[in-house]
């Protein structure tokens, strides 16, 4: 299964994502420079964390218009799998591939720490290796993780079971403690916590790893189907 990690100027978790896929999941993975206008055949695309374009104007606002994003949008609309982690999630929101927007943490500080999440939906390609309602420890590191969506949008998320992860103790003011969501079709995941930072026990927790193993299983299954 071929994975791609998009690199924007200012991305800084690209190497961590690459390592998780290459060294831990042991799958082929390539970096995709943001100026690329053509996506080769990838089975999954990752938009990594960081400070693309220095978070200028609004986090993810400028990266959203990078040449590669037109391809990513086409890819996602065509059913391709996309994971946006932290800044990647913010870019997916700006691009409209996921509903809602990110605001600054209510504490007005950057927060880096391990948090406990509840896995709300295990019927997605990204969470099938978890138990429903499982509590997991995955770290956050962000300035803008305060997820916002209007009442109508929130109802729609609930109706379509799009909420995937919730904070058990809300660290940033995020509405309904939302930490991660998928789109209606279920092929695009956005999450603020960093699964690539909790994929090895010696880093403190490997609770993030099932995000990748679930996806690999799902991709393999999909490729068998006629």
């Amino acid at each position: 299964m071929k994975f791609g990690v998009v690199v924007f100027p200012g991305s800084n978790c690209d190497q961590d994502c690459f390592y998780a896929i290459n060294d831990l999941l042991k799958q082929p993975v390539e970096y995709i420079w943001h100026k690329t206008t053509k996506l080769d055949k990838f089975d999954a695309i990752i938009l990594p964390g960081g400070f693309s374009y220095g978070d200028y104007l609004r986090t993810g606002a400028i990266a959203r218009f990078s040449p590669i994003m037109e391809e990513v949008i086409k890819y996602a609309k065509g059913g391709g799998v996309v994971i946006g982690i932290c800044n990647g999630f913010q870019i997916l929101l700006e691009a409209g591939l996921l509903p809602g927007a990110m605001l600054r943490n209510t504490s007005l500080h950057f927060i880096c720490k391990y948090v406990e999440l509840k896995v709300e939906n295990t019927a997605t390609p990204f969470t099938s290796d978890y138990e429903p309602g499982q509590k997991v420890r995955i770290p956050i590191a962000h300035n803008e993780g305060n997820y916002y969506i209007d009442a109508k949008g929130l109802q729609s998320l609930k109706d379509n079971r799009q909420i995937v992860f919730r904070y058990i103790k809300n660290p940033n003011g995020s509405i309904e403690d939302i930490a991660g969501i998928v789109n209606k079709e279920g092929n695009v995941l956005g999450m603020m916590p960093h699964p690539e930072r909790s994929s090895e026990k010696d880093l403190g927790s490997s609770d993030g790893y099932p995000v990748f193993t679930s996806l690999l299983k799902w991709l393999k299954q999909k490729s068998i189907k006629p």
Binding site: E94, G100, L103, R104, T106, L108, Y148, G173
Partner: protein, 82 residues
């Protein structure tokens, strides 16, 4: 040459903890009677345009497409010939 002065703030329906913090800070410096504070961005754009109408159209499009996020922000602007 035209110059646009653009103000972008969070929508009133969105909480503004920065505004609140700044309000408290001012109150602790004995400024009284502050009813509320909203923080925002101020952007100055100088651009070439055929006329005032075209300049305003351009600036509105810039705000809608990039400068403001319509989910959480609203914008106001003034365009002057310079």
């Amino acid at each position: 040459m035209f110059q646009a002065e653009i103000k972008i703030t969070l929508k009133k329906t969105v909480a503004d903890p920065q505004g609140l913090t700044v309000k408290h800070a001012l109150e602790s410096l004995d400024f009284k009677g502050i009813d509320g504070i909203r923080m925002g961005k101020f952007i100055i754009v100088r651009l070439e345009a055929k006329d005032q109408a075209q300049a305003e159209e351009e600036v509105a499009a810039m705000c809608q497409k990039l400068l403001a996020n319509p989910i959480i922000e609203e914008f106001y602007f003034e365009v002057k010939k310079i």
